[in-house]
Amino acid sequence: MNVEVTPLPGIGTRQDFVSKSGRRIGVITYRDGHFDLIVAKREDPDSCIASIPLSVEESATLANLLGAPSLVAQLEEQNRDVAGVTTRQLPLAPNSPYDGRTLGDTALRTRTAVSVVAVVRGGTVHPSPRPDFRLAGSDMLVTVGTAEGLSKAVEVLETG
């Protein structure tokens, strides 16, 4: 992916790229640390149809929404040569029996042979969580396993 980094003297930096559909999208990082999300116009790619100011918290949330699938895709790519292994992201519902309990309590590895390789929470990725990692509702578990194991894992997370 070719991200273009352009300095804006006196203001900050602009980082953008052109999507496959031909739209230029990117971010302006101001010197004081806040961001603008920019989307170029379709008929005039030099100019922007929107430039949306985002606080640090808002950009973290947006990164979370976009970042989890990308982590899965990355792992998928790495495991492509291993036949029968799939990567999936499993959400932990807020009313799940494991909301507030540790990862070790789920015993996913022993029961389903599925590995939790990362937990995405509030915009940040917690890689390789240990068994004492405390889960919370709305966490996104990035998991690797066989198709059969993964569907069993979904069940375990839902019903205990």
Binding site: L8, P9, G10, I11, A40, D44, P45, D46, S47, S51
Partner: protein, 392 residues
């Protein structure tokens, strides 16, 4: 009434009046600079209400305003940005100089103001207002546009040009000979090179001298350093403004950012005083005789700036609409044109008519600039529509 009481009442009235004008300006989407000038014209000699007794304060406040305007201009761009800007946009920068100084020179020579007057007018019509332009680009949501870095790098180039131009102008205004002028050029070039090298290599040491975690200590140190450097520079005939500007470039990194945040309100206050003082010293009755020239200059230099922006943007592979936007964005002139005019008129070495001409010109350009940036898209589209059927 007691003398102090009258002064306080007059000053209070001036500040309050400026506040009302400033609010009005942002409301209708233009820069407050022209309104400050009008405010000064109204109060001064030949105006509606002549003010008396506060001149000693307003004079020095105006001087501090110039120092702060230039200090913050120097703080705005880091030395690295200046060097990259110079490398990337020198061709457009030179075109900018040629196209936008010539109209000023021509008018000055037509009016018989001689070479020094011509040099001063060259600066007045050349330098765009980075303050107005940055504000307008932000307001219109154009910071993410592809042509915006082109516009900004031209502004960076103009800043560097100012650092060479101001010492030369100061030397010639002081009545230096050709040799003296050349010496000033040499001194200015050496000073800028030294400052850029210091800022790039040892910027943190300069920053260390002024930096402090306590805001008030920091404020006093930065302001003190700026006035000291400006005063010494002025004593050495290099112009106070240039001293402050070079100090601003030398201060770098987070120190520069914090200094900008602290000094911005102070600059706005003193710069407003500077514009008022300039207006005060200009007799509004002298404007009508030069108004024709001001309007002609406004029309011509609007076109030349648009041409500059168009060329620079095309050079970077920007589409037609983007080129038009880049050109229109550069049209605004403001604070620095008045700084140059103030410098020239203050020494008495140029024709006093330069003040009313510069005032009228900046009044027009500071209002016209933001309007041009706003209407350029619909206008360009209308032109395109009219041209297309004809060519099809």
């Amino acid at each position: 009434m007691h003398h102090t009481a009258i002064s306080l009442i007059e000053l209070g009235a001036v500040f309050f009046g400026l506040g009302v004008l400033g609010r009005l300006a942002w409301k209708i989407g233009i820069s407050p600079i022209p309104l400050y000038l009008v405010g000064g014209l109204a109060f001064g000699a030949g105006g509606l209400i002549p003010l008396e007794g506060i001149e000693p304060f307003t004079e020095i406040a105006g001087e501090i305003g110039v120092v702060l305007l230039l200090l913050l201009l120097g703080l705005e761009y880091s030395a690295a940005e200046l060097v990259t800007g110079l490398r990337r946009s020198w061709l457009a920068g030179i075109l900018d100089i040629v196209l936008n100084t010539l109209p000023g020179v021509a008018v000055a020579l037509m009016l018989g103001w001689g070479p020094v007057g011509a040099l001063a007018m060259a600066g007045v019509t050349y330098i765009s207002s980075s303050g107005i332009i940055a504000k307008v680009l932000g307001d219109l949501g154009r910071l993410g546009n592809r042509e915006t870095p082109v516009v900004l790098s031209i502004l960076v180039f103009e800043d560097l040009a100012m650092a060479i131009y101001l010492p030369i102008l100061t030397a010639l205004l002081a009545g230096a000979t050709l040799l003296g002028g050349l010496t000033a050029v040499g001194v200015a070039l050496i000073a800028i090179t030294v400052v850029l090298v210091i800022a790039l290599r040892f910027g943190r040491f300069v920053s260390m001298v002024v930096d402090s975690p306590e805001p008030e200590v920091f404020l006093l140190r930065v302001l003190g350093a700026a006035l000291l450097v400006a005063g010494i520079a002025s004593q050495l005939q290099v112009s106070a403004a240039v001293g402050a500007f070079l100090l601003g470039i030398a201060i770098s990194g987070s120190t520069a950012e914090n200094a900008t945040k602290l000094l911005e309100p102070l600059r706005d206050l003193f710069a407003a005083m500077f514009f008022v003082v300039f207006g005060l010293n200009t007799d509004p009755r002298e404007i009508p005789p030069v108004l024709g020239f001001a309007v002609a200059l406004a029309v011509i230099t609007t076109l030349t700036k648009v041409a500059t922006g168009w060329f620079a943007a095309r050079h970077q592979g920007i589409g037609r609409m983007g080129r038009a936007r880049a050109g229109a964005a550069l049209v605004a002139r403001g604070e620095f044109s008045i700084v140059i005019a103030g410098l020239a008129v203050g020494t008495g070495a140029v024709d006093p008519q330069l003040a009313p001409l510069a005032t009228a010109y900046v009044l027009l350009m500071a209002i016209l600039g933001p309007i041009a940036a706003r209407v350029v898209e619909p206008v360009a589209m209308a032109v395109q529509r009219r041209v297309r059927p004809a060519t099809a």
